[in-house]
Symmetry: C2
Subunit: 290 residues, 2 copies
DNA sequence: AATCATTCGTGCAATAATGCACGAGTGATT
DNA sequence: AATCACTCGTGCATTATTGCACGAATGATT
């Protein structure tokens, strides 16, 4: 019988296109990957990858089993979640993910409290770009800004997000208003067109806190969720008295259904939910300085 | 990430009920199984088995993932078959299964020929009781006596099986005819009731060759597929001139769909099919001695 | 009650897998 | 053409896993 774990190596190489990157993803040395793939091919008398100078390329035999390997991975993840779902200890690791600004400007101190309450729970925080896959256990609990989370994630909606248009007192008047936009906004966004006759994009950013900094530096005005500027509450950054309809995005504290009984996850999730509810007014834009 | 191979150990213990038997099934030492289960439990903080004096008993946590583990096993088997399906070498192992009497009294010499033709192909023959699971790769090619094989097995129907009623010349006349029956026949079988007024079960057997031996020894008469007594062609065992309708069972040479392109499997299967077709008249009862 | 056949856990030695460090090959850049 | 950055394979030392042999515990049989 084939070692079931071999398919994990196979998938990593197939998805990363080379042994080195696969090894990094698997957290092992590249030679281990190289040797296990070679052994797998040997054992089955099938060539799975063509060794090209730039890396490994799937053969037709590999293509043939690739889809199945993905299904296998999904099943393994499911089992992993279910097992974790049975863990009733108030100790061990929890992987958390959230937008970094929420951590840095809203929750840091709360985390200090939690650490004191539950010293045996090891929190791993991931605030990197991109959403973590909770089904793959890349994270156990997520704080997400989203209109509606997928079915397999459960949790509480803390608040509906209110946006505002913010500006620094440093910003000088001019006939064309400089806008701070998002990377994916190719032209002047709608909110600017509606409220300003003349507007142009001054800079594009890919991060909310970067946007805030740009506003504060007087580079331009921006539409931001109120919670960030209002929490920081820097006197030079003011919200303009322009009404923006309530967003349909909410702040959610989420985890996978399969983890609903995992005690430490429950504990941490409840804690986060409670603390965020205290900050509800910030998310709803009731703390703005005009 | 959990070692996917751990679930293989989990399943073996769950299905065998104790570490020792699981180890035998996995072809490893019992201490390996014991330690891997312990490590799996440790890693996930979940108790999977209760250690009772007679072995290991699944906890509710184990029950929870058992079904998923089975699905995982099925996926692994599927991948294993697909990989094997890509093997185009005329060397390596082939696992064969068939009723032992077919091997011993019909095909032995043909196997000698095959071995000569393909010395690099290693045949593993399994003639034990019970059907092997071709989906689980317990066997690659099967010769089966069956009315209709399942969809996922493909192959050729060699012949339709003809049965006859056989008797030894040694058997003495009496007013009640002694019948040799199968284990699962609780009362005198239909064929006997139809053709004989007075019949009783003299002995029950669970194997065709055993049935033949019983007939030869004069213990009674029996309904057997013609191929066995006719191939052996012992003068003391005669077929009675009683017509029995053609059975709807056939002789099939089968393998899993996924192995249809595996060269050595194809080669061996074709060989077996050809040789069995030569013996078609035996299966159809045209070689009987009355 | 004593023996026997099971089960399983554990220390120790043999075996297998892994990481590390190096060198070779390829392609892009200077 | 030379350098750099990136691939990968391989020998060797280290580490992890496994098998073996033993003893303890339980339950059945004598």
């Amino acid at each position: 019988m084939i070692d079931w774990d071999d398919i994990r190596f196979f998938l990593a190489v197939a998805q990363n296109g080379n042994v080195t990157a696969a090894a990094r993803a698997l957290n092992v040395n590249h030679s281990t990957v190289s040797r296990r793939i070679a052994a797998l091919e040997e054992k089955h008398g099938v060539r799975l990858f063509e060794r090209i100078p730039s890396g490994y390329e799937m053969t037709s035999a590999a293509e043939d089993i690739y889809q199945l390997a993905l299904e296998l991975e999904a099943k393994n993840q499911q089992i992993s979640r279910r097992l974790f779902g049975q863990d009733s200890r108030l100790q061990g690791e929890i992987n958390l993910t959230m937008p970094h600004d929420i951590f840095e400007y809203s929750l840091v101190n709360d985390f200090a409290d939690f650490k004191e309450q539950q010293p045996k729970i090891q929190l791993n925080l991931c605030v990197g770009q991109g959403l973590k896959n909770l089904a793959a256990r890349e994270a156990d609990i997520a704080i997400r800004l989203t209109p509606a989370p997928p079915d397999y994630l459960i949790g509480k909606k803390i608040a509906q997000i209110q946006h505002g248009i913010y500006q620094s007192i440093k910003l000088e008047k001019s006939n064309s208003i400089p806008i701070i936009a998002w990377q994916n906004e190719t032209q002047v966004p709608d909110w600017a067109k509606i409220h300003f006759e003349n507007a142009h994009i001054a800079i594009r950013v890919d991060d909310l806190y970067a946007m805030y900094c740009a506003v504060k530096a007087g580079i331009g005005i921006a539409r931001m969720p109120c919670y960030l500027p209002d929490t920081i509450a820097n006197e030079s950054v003011k919200r303009l008295p322009i009404n923006i309809p309530l967003s349909n995005w909410g702040v959610w504290v989420l985890s996978h259904v399969d983890l609903r009984h995992t005690r430490r996850v429950r504990c941490c999730k409840d804690f986060l939910t409670e603390r965020l509810i205290h900050k509800k007014t910030y998310f709803e834009g009731h703390r703005s300085h005009y």
